[in-house]
Symmetry: C2
Amino acid sequence: MPYDPSAFAPFAVTVDLVVLTVRRHALCALAVRRGESPFQGRWALPGGFVRPDEDLSQAAARELMEETGLRAHDPDAPAQVNGAHLEQLATYGDPGRDPRMRVVSVAHLALAPDLPAPRAGGDANSARWAPVEDLLQQGGYGRDGEQAAPLAFDHARILADGVERARSKIEYSSLATAFCPPEFTVGELRRVYEAVWGVALDPRNFHRKVTGTPGFLVPTGGTTTRQGGRPAQLFRAGGATLLNPPMLRPEV
Amino acid sequence: MPYDPSAFAPFAVTVDLVVLTVRRHALCALAVRRGESPFQGRWALPGGFVRPDEDLSQAAARELMEETGLRAHDPDAPAQVNGAHLEQLATYGDPGRDPRMRVVSVAHLALAPDLPAPRAGGDANSARWAPVEDLLQQGGYGRDGEQAAPLAFDHARILADGVERARSKIEYSSLATAFCPPEFTVGELRRVYEAVWGVALDPRNFHRKVTGTPGFLVPTGGTTTRQGGRPAQLFRAGGATLLNPPMLRPEV
DNA sequence: GTGTTTATCGTCAGGAAGACGACTATGATC
DNA sequence: GATCATAGTCGTCTTCCTGACGATAAACAC
């Protein structure tokens, strides 16, 4: 007898978060230490079960708030203080990805400005911002000499997908401003691009590009010298979300 | 007592397919008529439950084969006859999207060359290729005078997301060749772009662009006059998957 | 003041794209 | 068979964008 298409097996559905930020010129992701088996003591992406009455995006926003205190931006609302960009990334449902049961995880990508130390939440013993380079390299040693154990479950794959999404999306959208505080300078925005892409950009051409794209940056009138050197103009993110023509990621 | 984060509610997980093709200069999607309640008699996207032992992409490939007879391309394998491009699109899990139970649907996007009439499969009474314009317009009348009822569930939203993904992806990838037979002419490829984007492109500039992009097209040596006019060179899709610089979608 | 750092403006050459003219090779029609 | 319509293909020209890089400006450290 063929498979009954009306039958279905129950699945557990979770949301996992790839929360990215730029700290000290490095692209970092939020990692939590697992307090339970499986993968007890290993680092993992924050996440949790979707509740029966909430949408996937609601569940992701709730987890983000629990882990970081960040409110997710309504895509239609203007930028606000202490908000983060949040979007669905992809869904991972390999039958063997969780040894306990069949779990389908809807991964989300969040981009946040530089934050104070993370606060632990949920069942995590601790949480930290770690350079994605450290989290993704297998078998190496992290900055503090700690053995860099691979992330739990398939979270390395999920993190890699999230990083690649962020890298490509700042090319053709104004999303890089999500890594910046509400007011920022052209130089700070350039350092975001440099950290996310891992390349050095020409400050003069970058300045011409971003200030010449209508709707990308809005000058606030203020200036700052917090980066040292000559005072720099402060900008807010403009209404434009799509950059046309895009910002080109250098070859190689 | 707060919510127990270790508890989870069981969900049903399905895959839904947005299968796109180009027929008679129009972007068309595969729609199946629902044979069961809810939305009995309405058009919907093909799909079905994920089985306990299969991955999400396997489930999508299986559904695609059941509905169209198309084999999904292995992304790493070269193009083959009767194959279609298949990729994950997004996941939809609004609590109220299916009145029967909590269903999370992992939508996939498939791009196929022009095919003979579809064959019905599963619990669908019938299947057809319908212009996406007809499927997405609400309350109008289709080409055959039939009242254009909205698609079942949230499938209009899923279809719209899939169409937008296809429209943007052919800009910077060679994916448009997935709509073409194994051998095709520059003009046929141009008509694909015109149908997907709904614009007219300059044949001379298009020819210069696609033949000047290394790795995009490989001449087979043959020619054809199946489009009338002067014989045109035949090409196969080359190995390049990313177009740099991209094909630019005209403004407006 | 001198040096260092960062920001900002300007110049120039090369490449890509839009607009469009011109020519070519078929089949269809008179 | 001449003519016409249809598609395909090659070029030209202008404009815009980018990468490379010189030069100036405004702060701070000493």
